[in-house]
């Protein structure tokens, strides 16, 4: 059954993409604004994270409490997040409550109060979250590896630094947001229960006359990469590795996803089998694929006690490199069915679909149907995986470890 997709591009640069899902009563919305962490002004790291809290501290005629009250009364499961490229504002609720939510979102995005009084607590909360990361090395290392791997400012720390937060001022953040909270380039994705004509009209009513400049492009500088160790008295050594992968809009994208599944799709995949099942070196190990528009990486995580850390790193890197020796038809078939099955199950969740629609439009400028993705996955052959592994070998690894002692960096092959 083909999906019911809808797209509308407004004159002000706002794009609305939507998927109607007939069997659900909920509806989810994801708004991707070009105000992500990588857009933070150079001297104001932490801006996007602070903004993600500050935006909800009063908008239009409503103060903080009234905003929360009305979102609660609509049963909105809402979430605001500062990601690399976007500031994401998203919510899931019953479909019948979506029109009213859109009116509130027009206040939050177009008429946020951003008052001096509510600024400091928002900034302080970000600073406290930054401190909290020190107590959670696993979460911390997965943020820090992106900072090392991606060309700055794409991997910049979402929470900034103590110093940058201390220097952050409400006035400058307000003017930054004025240039960034704009319809131009903003993607609004909706999935679930709705009537398209009515939805399109409601959005036109609330956002059709929204005006704003085109957000400035982000320019990048070379990535630091290399090897980093942070000495800390932890129970487990946190090991993270990253190396380049094909982007979503790249030719070898589907081969990249299949390769990631061969490494880490299920408990029968290579990393879990070799590092955990056979050698019992870890409880947690995983390789994840992450793509920005122009850069993507495979990110590997493993956590293990200090005396077993070097072996864990060596075996893990060995597995990444062993891909070059070949993959079997059986592994390929498992990876493909896992990808397809995950896709179909994700299709049952309105929130997951709204995120996927926004992602497709951002990366590809269009929406992909289940059929298209299934066919593309089916088409990946062993040869394609081998071509991919040659194009994106596990070399020049960016590594970051947190633990009592430094490890020996993996040898180049």
């Amino acid at each position: 059954m083909a999906e019911e997709f809808f797209t509308r591009e407004f004159d002000n640069g706002l794009t609305l993409v939507a998927q109607r899902m007939p069997h659900v009563s909920s509806s989810a919305i994801t708004i991707a604004l070009s105000a992500g962490v990588s857009c933070d002004p150079d001297d104001s790291a932490g801006s996007a994270s602070t903004a993600s809290l500050w935006l909800l501290r009063g908008a239009g005629d409503r103060d903080t409490r009234q905003i929360n009250d009305v979102l609660d009364s609509l049963g909105c499961q809402h979430h605001e997040a500062a990601q690399s490229e976007h500031l994401l504002v998203s919510s899931a609720q019953l479909g019948k409550n979506l029109p009213e939510l859109l009116e509130i979102y027009s206040d939050i995005l177009r008429r946020p109060r951003l008052s001096d009084e509510t600024f400091s607590p928002c900034r302080d909360l970000v600073a406290q979250t930054l401190d909290g990361l020190e107590d959670e090395p696993m979460r911390n290392c997965n943020i820090l590896i992106r900072e090392k791997f991606y060309p700055p400012p794409l991997g910049n720390h979402p929470l900034g630094t103590k110093e940058s937060l201390a220097d952050l001022k409400p006035k400058s953040l307000r003017s930054h947001l004025k240039n960034r909270l704009t319809p131009n380039g903003t993607i609004m994705a909706i999935a679930g229960q709705f009537d398209w004509e009515k939805l399109s009209g409601t959005i036109e009513k609330h956002f059709g006359d929204w005006e704003g400049p085109a957000p400035a492009e982000v320019s990048t500088s070379p990535a630091q990469q290399g090897t980093t160790h942070i000495t800390k008295d932890t129970a487990q050594v946190q090991i993270t590795l990253a190396y380049p992968a094909a982007t979503i809009n790249g030719e070898l994208y589907y081969a990249a996803r299949v390769t990631q599944m061969i490494l880490s799709g299920g408990m029968g995949a290579r990393l879990f089998t070799e590092v955990r099942e056979k050698r019992a070196l870890v409880y947690a190990i995983a390789a994840r694929y992450h793509s920005l528009k122009d850069f993507a990486g495979l990110f590997v995580y493993a956590g293990t006690t200090p005396q077993r850390a070097q072996e864990t790193l060596d075996v893990t890197v060995g597995e990444l490199r062993r891909l070059a020796e070949g993959v079997s038809e059986d592994e390929l078939a498992r990876a493909k069915i896992q990808l397809k099955s995950a896709l179909i199950m994700q299709g049952e969740s309105t929130s997951a679909r709204a995120d996927a629609l926004a992602g497709d439009f951002h990366h590809l400028g269009r929406l992909r149907g289940l059929d298209e993705i299934s066919r593309a996955i089916d088409a990946v052959a062993v040869n394609d995986v081998m071509e991919y592994v040659r194009a994106y070998p596990a070399e020049n690894l960016t590594t970051l470890t947190i633990g009592p002692d430094k490890l020996q960096a993996p040898n180049p092959t």
């Binding site: 909360l125 487990q236 299920g266 409880y283 069915i337 099955s341 179909i344 049952e348």
Partner: protein, 408 residues
């Protein structure tokens, strides 16, 4: 939605909620056993959870690698979890794999428990224990449970300790298995797009031979030890504070009022704790949740704050609780909280995996089937008087308190 139920002659109950419009189906074995059932006469702690790992380590027909590979061949989303009172093994698959995933899961439920696999997996369990040592909130929760429940079996740690795990023998585990995994203590649950007749037929052929024996559990009342204490860890930057007090149990109809109470007091956004602590940035995290358990229940409050503001944060939270116990909730709070709970339940209920756990636990705790819409109706039926009355029956300030961080 169609509900189905059948019990096999050996006592295994099978239940399902059939939803032909779903794209997938989820199924799982719900075993009514967990750390609270680890008898004090055995010198072991953590056997329920360790056993859960061993169930993936092969059967007479399958090696550990076969199990993982077969799940992957179906493209399944699968795993298992162990708590103080339940151990659940589950898989979500496309409908065409229903028979195969049942064949695999039911075979796993009669494991080989081979000695060499046991010794290998022991190392993984020790790594898992180490992993949680680097998560202060988890450490705090585990220590708080132990302190709050004192002599009550719910004080038992799920993971156990490195010492208890090292000392555990394969035969101790087999003995535990033979006392807890009787078919009468297990429920096979399924939700989504599934074939009920085929499900029963498969379960009968795969599980019908399991030998039945009697299994029991003590469910004593508990109102908590109400002791306070602190664990000083100078390596931590934040002060993590946990408070626990008694609440209604899973079989108690007052649980709906209890969910409302926790939502009003301590939801992440828009609650009393949010306005008192998060909005002014006195604490970074402050939340209250309610957990119904077998025969008892708990309210838990967690706060994370700068060490020098921690006692201020706790005092403010206490004042909020006093005020709430004196005045009860407002109508606005009642409506907002009911909407939040209903919305979260609806979203979860749209996924077969989400329905599986709700369906399974309704049955395990109360032997009842309730469509999601009935649960939502009961949430909306709770009155502000009932919530206020609940605070008189369960004193929110009669807490067991524990702090973890650089300060005492």
């Amino acid at each position: 939605m169609q509900f189905e139920q059948q019990t096999l002659p050996n006592g295994l109950t099978i239940i399902a909620e059939v939803n032909p419009s779903a794209a997938s189906m989820a199924t799982g074995f719900f075993v009514r056993t967990g750390s609270r059932d680890e008898s004090p006469t055995l010198p072991i702690s953590g056997v329920s959870h360790f056993l859960e790992h061993m169930m993936f380590k092969g059967t007479d027909r399958r090696s550990p690698f076969d199990i993982n590979r077969e799940f992957d061949e179906m493209g399944a989303a699968y795993n298992a979890f162990t708590s103080e009172e339940n151990t659940v093994y589950f898989g979500a698959v496309l409908p065409e794999f229903q028979d195969r995933v049942l064949d695999l899961l039911s075979d796993m439920m009669r494991p080989a428990l081979r000695e060499d696999d046991f010794q290998t997996e022991k190392k993984v369990i020790l790594e898992e224990i180490a992993l949680y040592q680097d998560r202060p909130q988890f450490r705090l929760f585990e220590k708080l449970m132990a302190r709050h429940f004192g002599e009550h079996p719910l004080s038992h740690s799920v993971l156990g300790t490195p010492e208890s795990i090292r000392a555990l023998k394969r035969d101790d585990m087999l003995d535990y298995f033979n006392r807890r995994y009787s078919p009468g203590n297990v429920t096979l649950v399924a939700a989504g797009n599934l074939d009920w007749d085929a499900l029963v037929a498969k379960a009968s052929s795969a599980c019908g031979h399991w030998k039945d024996y009697s299994v029991s559990r003590d469910t004593p009342e508990n109102s908590g030890t109400r002791q306070s204490g602190s664990v000083v860890d100078s390596k931590l930057l934040r002060q993590h504070i946990g408070e626990m007090s008694a609440g209604p149990g899973a079989q108690d109809e007052r649980r709906y009022a209890a969910y409302m109470l926790a939502m009003i007091l301590g939801d992440f956004v828009g609650s009393r704790l949010f306005y008192a602590l998060i909005e002014p940035a006195i604490a970074e995290e402050a939340s209250c949740s309610y957990e119904p358990m077998d025969g008892t229940g708990i309210f838990m409050t967690f706060i994370s704050a700068d060490p020098d503001r921690a006692s201020q944060a706790v005092k403010i939270a206490r004042d909020e609780y006093d005020k709430f116990m004196a005045d009860g909730p407002t109508d606005q709070e009642m409506t907002a909280s009911a909407n939040k709970i209903a919305s979260a339940a609806t979203l979860k209920g749209e996924l077969p995996m989400g329905r599986l756990t709700a369906l399974g636990f309704d049955w395990v705790y109360r032997q009842e089937y309730k469509p999601m819409s009935d649960h939502i109706e009961q949430i909306f039926a709770v009155t502000s008087e009932q919530v206020h009355e609940l605070t008189k029956q369960f004193d929110l300030n009669a807490t067991t308190t524990l702090t973890l961080g650089p300060n005492e």
